[in-house]
Symmetry: D2
Subunit: 144 residues, 4 copies
């Protein structure tokens, strides 16, 4: 974590996200991280959609996720998202997922996801300067 | 059905496709229909990927599906796909899904999915003439 | 529609829900309908999770959906859910999906989904009496 | 890798698995790993479904995946699966995904996924002895 800036997002678990183990299938936690990342970028004053319109995509290059406790149908899940590392052509976000049903704040999972910037031809490129500036200057306020 | 031409595809149910009811979540049967449709078009001697490269997309406009019996993890599912109707700007496929575990050929679901042709700007357009010709002339052979 | 009672839910489109056509893949609209249905039942004063804990599941038996306009990444989608029909062993919900980006209230899709009650052995059974009573008496208030 | 035993599975990329970047959304590669793992266990002479019927589930506890090149719609993807580590209550599988379109054998991704054994109450437990024996004795033959 490069500072204590972070955003808080929240999702409610969909039936579609459960599997026959009676808990959420493991890949969906990563989709919730995407929700957190989208909110983090929005809190910086731009949007990921806007970044794409300018011709840059951020493609997932590396994922690490540890599952601590299961999420279940209809649970409220809180996603804390922060910047873990900014490089010239890549950015790594950190995530902590917790249950947010009433008093229950159990930790569900922690993850890091590294994204690399690609230009229209699919080649690695520099992160947009305006985005890097926002990474270094702006302060996301917790929201949801 | 405009003729007895059809293709047979097969998928094996993934754990990711189940839900906490212990059966496959209902939307995944429609993804299997997509597998059947892709195979049907391939059996005509072209591919859906090729159609898109020529600048036309076939977007889903209408879906009707009836669920008869549940599919379960690790089941083999057989997808029979046929042409239900060809219009100037749309094509409707029919599907029958059956279980294909050993002797078990229980019917799982039947569906019809209508797709409309859209050009690069997203406006409705004529189906590609070459595709319409294939719809009317070629004979998909069962395969999988 | 058996009355003007309905609930309003809202989702924001996830990147995971888009496909290479640049719009939302067609099955995800049905997951949003599930979000609407969950909220409708919650507005009646119970939850679908509670119904399952009592030993009854509501399995999807029939789906009809018409797609009118595409949903795109980061769009806000409003889901209006109402009761279309209540039978002894089945219930049919109606749905209208609209875009809710600022002034844009374009209709995205309309759907009906029929669910049948199944007991622990997977056999069709009567809808729980307490649920039927709620269907006939309570008045969901729009919420989200 | 604890030996050179491995299985080869193959999937064809579904349209549903792509996103608006024109490539496969990153979580679906992990579902393909599940396909590989299912096949690996089947090659040992049992099935994951059978393990669950005996009252044990293998829940995903830790995932690491590196994305090297994108998979695209209609690509054939080959999944090589092997045992990375067997512990008393956990097993870690390794995966290599490659494109298998004609001559193209480009590496798509590599991953490791650790699963822990849980009993009916959801508590960690020993891996089934019969499964551990198969892990140590049997030799999966490449198949698909």
């Amino acid at each position: 974590m490069i500072s204590d800036r972070h955003t808080i997002s929240e999702v409610r678990v969909r039936y579609a996200e459960t599997d026959q183990m009676g808990i959420v299938y493991h890949t969906h936690y990563l989709v919730w991280c995407e929700v957190g990342r989208t909110d983090y970028i929005r809190a910086l004053g731009t949007t990921y959609a806007e970044i794409e319109r300018e011709g840059i995509v951020l493609a997932v290059a590396d994922v690490r996720i540890r599952y601590v406790a299961p999420a279940r149908y209809d649970d409220r899940i809180r996603i804390r998202t922060w910047l873990e590392r900014v490089q010239s052509r890549a950015v790594t976000f950190g995530y902590e997922l917790t249950r947010a049903n009433g008093e229950d704040g159990a930790r569900i999972a922690t993850a890091t996801i590294k994204l690399i910037a690609l230009d229209a031809s699919g080649s690695p490129c520099l992160l947009p300067a305006s985005l890097v500036r926002r990474f270094h200057e702006d302060t996301p306020a917790p929201h949801h």
